[in-house]
C-alpha cells in the first residue's frame, strides 16, 4: 500500500514538473501560452497526490503527518488545493509562477521518503554532482548580475528623481535597459538555481537516503531558493522595482553567498 502511494506521489511530481516548466517559460519568455496545459497536468497531479495521501492514511490508520516527508506532502497538497480554489474563484493565475515550482519541489522531496539503491556507476554520481554545482554557480552569477543591475537602477533612478546630472552617472544605462537586464538575469538565476536544487536534492537522496534532511547547510539552500522564488513572484505580480527590488536582490545574493560558504565544507559532514 505504502509503495503504491509513493508511486502516485512521484507521478504527481512529474505532472507538477509541467507547472515548473510553465513558470520558467513565463519568467524567461514572458509568455503564458503554456499555462492551460500546465494547469491541466497540475489538476491531475493534485488528484494523484490526494490518492497517495488517502492510501497512506489508510495504510497507517491515521493522517500521515508524523514525519517530515508526510507533513511536507500534505502541506504541498493543501497549497495546491488552495491555488486551484483561488484560480477557480478569482482567476488569479499569476500566483502560479511561484506556486507551481513550490508545490513541485515540496512533492519531489516528499516522494523521497523511501531510499533507492545507490549509484550504479561512480562516474554518473560525480557527473551528477558537477552538473548540480555548475547550475547553482551559474544561478549565483546571474543573481550577482541582478543585484548589480538593481543597484545601478537605484542610482539612475535617484539621479533622475533629484534632477541633477553628475557627469559620471550619466554614463549609466537607461532605466528601461537596466530593468530588462534585471528581469532576464533574475529569470535565468531562478531557472539555474531551481534546476541546481533539483539536481542536488536527487543526488543527496540517492547518495544519502534520507539522512540529509535537516542539515542546516542544505536547509539554507532551500531558503535561498525560496527567497529567489519570492523575488520573482513579487516582481511578476506586484511589479517590484527600484529600492524594494534592489534590496530583495541583495538579500537573495547575500543568502546565496552564505549557502555557498556553508557548502564549502558540506561533503565531509554528510559523508563521514
Amino acid at each position: 500500500m505504502a509503495d503504491s502511494s509513493i508511486f502516485w506521489l512521484r507521478v504527481a511530481a512529474v505532472l507538477y514538473a509541467m507547472g515548473l516548466l510553465h513558470s520558467m517559460l513565463a519568467i524567461l519568455k514572458r509568455r503564458n501560452d503554456f499555462y492551460g496545459f500546465a494547469l491541466g497536468t497540475f489538476r491531475v497531479g493534485v488528484v494523484l497526490q490526494g490518492v497517495a495521501i488517502v492510501e497512506l492514511a489508510m495504510a497507517e490508520g491515521r493522517l500521515p503527518v508524523e514525519n517530515f516527508y508526510g507533513s511536507i506532502n500534505v502541506c504541498a497538497f493543501l497549497i495546491a488545493l488552495v491555488f486551484l480554489f483561488v484560480d477557480w474563484r478569482y482567476h488569479f493565475a499569476s500566483t502560479s509562477i511561484a506556486l507551481f515550482p513550490l508545490v513541485f519541489l515540496m512533492t519531489l522531496v516528499a516522494g523521497m521518503r523511501q531510499p533507492v539503491s545507490a549509484w550504479s556507476d561512480v562516474r554518473v554520481r560525480d557527473a551528477w554532482l558537477i552538473v548540480h554545482i555548475i547550475l547553482v554557480l551559474a544561478g549565483y552569477a546571474a543573481l550577482l548580475l541582478t543585484a548589480v543591475s538593481s543597484v545601478f537602477y537605484l542610482i539612475q533612478e535617484r539621479r533622475l528623481k533629484s534632477k541633477k546630472s553628475p557627469s559620471l552617472l550619466e554614463k549609466l544605462p537607461p532605466l528601461g535597459t537596466l530593468d530588462d537586464l534585471i528581469s532576464t538575469s533574475m529569470g535565468f538565476g531562478f531557472v539555474f538555481i531551481t534546476l541546481g536544487v533539483i539536481f542536488g536534492v536527487m543526488w543527496a537522496y540517492i547518495e544519502l537516503g534520507t539522512s540529509w534532511v535537516g542539515n542546516a547547510s542544505i536547509s539554507l539552500s532551500f531558503v535561498t531558493w525560496g527567497l529567489c522564488l519570492a523575488m520573482i513572484f513579487m516582481r511578476a505580480s506586484a511589479g517590484w522595482r527600484g529600492r524594494k527590488a534592489a534590496l530583495m536582490a541583495l538579500v537573495v545574493l547575500g543568502c546565496g553567498a552564505l549557502t555557498w560558504v556553508a557548502h564549502a565544507g558540506l561533503r565531509p559532514t554528510l559523508i563521514p
Partner: protein, 422 residues
Amino acid sequence: MKLLITGLSHHTAPVEVREKLAFEEQALPGALDRLCRRPGMVEGMILSTCNRVEVAVTAEESSDAANSVDEFLAEARSVEPSWVSPYLYHYNGPDAIRHLFRVASSLDSMIVGEPQILGQLKSAYMLAKEHGSVSGFLDLVMTRAFNVAKRVRTETEIGSSAVSVSYAAVELARDIFGSLSGKRVLLVGAGKMAESAARHLRRAGVSDILVTNRTRSRADALAEEFHGRVVEYDEMAVTLPDVDIVIASSGAPHFILTKDLMQGVITRRRHRPMFLIDIAVPRNVEPSVNTLDGIFVYDIDDLDRVVKSNLTARVNVAEQAEEIITEEVERMMLRLKTREVTPTIVSLQEQLELVRMSEIERVRAKLGVLTPQQQEAIEAMTRGIINKIAHAPITEMRRKANDPEGIQLIHTIRKLFRLGEG
C-alpha cells in the same frame, strides 16, 4: 591664389543687420553669378543663415578681393558700404581655413555644437558646386571642412547633449525608457511647446500619441497631425495607466495630475516607469508626484536647468574640439603647400628641358655632322648643366614646403623662371 572669407554673424552684428544682409534662397544663384564675375575672383560661395552671412572666395593674388567682396555685399543687399562695414570680418589664408573649420564644426554657432549649421553649409556648397562657382581650391577646403566637422562630432561629445527644452525632454525619456519605440505618449492640453516635444518624441520612435484637451477641435487637429487619437478629457484618468509619457500643457488653473491620482495609476501600471513632462504655467502636475516610486516629473524650470547644464558642458568640450581644429588647419596648410610645390618643380624641369632642346637645335647646324659619341657627350653635358641649375631651387622648395614662407618662395621661382600661373 588666395582664400578670403568675408561675413558677419551673431558675434558681430545684431539681428536687424543680419536680416538686411541675409540672402533669400532663390536669389543665391544670381548673387553667385555676380560675385564670380567681379575682377580677380576665381571661385565663390555664399552661406546665408539666420545667424550668419558669409562669402568665401578664392581670388588672384594681385586682386583686392576684400574690398571687392565688401562692395558686392553692399550692392547685392542694397545697403550703404559704410553702414555694413563695421559689422564685417575678413579672414585670409590659414585664418580663413580655421574659421571655415570652426563654422562647419559648430564651434562658432550661437548654440555650440548644434547640428543645423553643417547641413546649411553643405547646402551652400552644393548650390555653388551646381552653379560651377566652386571647382578647385575652395572645393578642396570645403570638402576638408566637412571631414573636420565629422571628426569633431565623432571624437568629442560636442553634440551629444540636448540644448533645447523639447530635446531635453526626449533625452530624459531615453534615460528612463532606453528605446522609445512602442512607447505611448499622452498630450494633455495643446500648447506649442508640448507640440514641439511631441514632434521630437515621434522622431525618436514613439509609436502612439494620444491627445486630450478641453476644446475638442484643437485635440482633433493635433491628433491628426501626429496620426494619433483623441481621448475624451473626462476619460483621461482611465487612460493614464497605459501611457508611458505625459506632456502636460493645459491652461488649467489647478493641478490635474495629483499625487492621489498618480498613486493609483502607478500601482495599476505595476510600477513600470512613467515620465511626466509638465510644461504648463501654472503647473498641471502636483510636484509631490515626483516622490512616488517609478514616476519622474520634470517641469519647465527643471528642463531649463538641464539645458543650461548641457550648454556649460558643451563649452568645456569645445576646448577639445579647438585642438582638433588647430591640428587640422596645420595639416591642411601642409597639404596645400605640397600641392603647390609639386607642379612648380615639374614646370621648372619642363621649362629648362625646353631651353636645352632649343639650344641644341640652334647649334647643331654650326657643328656639322656629329658622331654618335659626340651627340651623346653634348646630351650629357647639357643635361648636367640644367640639373645643376634646377638642383638648388628644387631642394629649397622641398625644404620650405612646411614653412610659412614656402608659398612666397614658390611665387618667386615661378616669376624668375617665367613658369606662368599654375
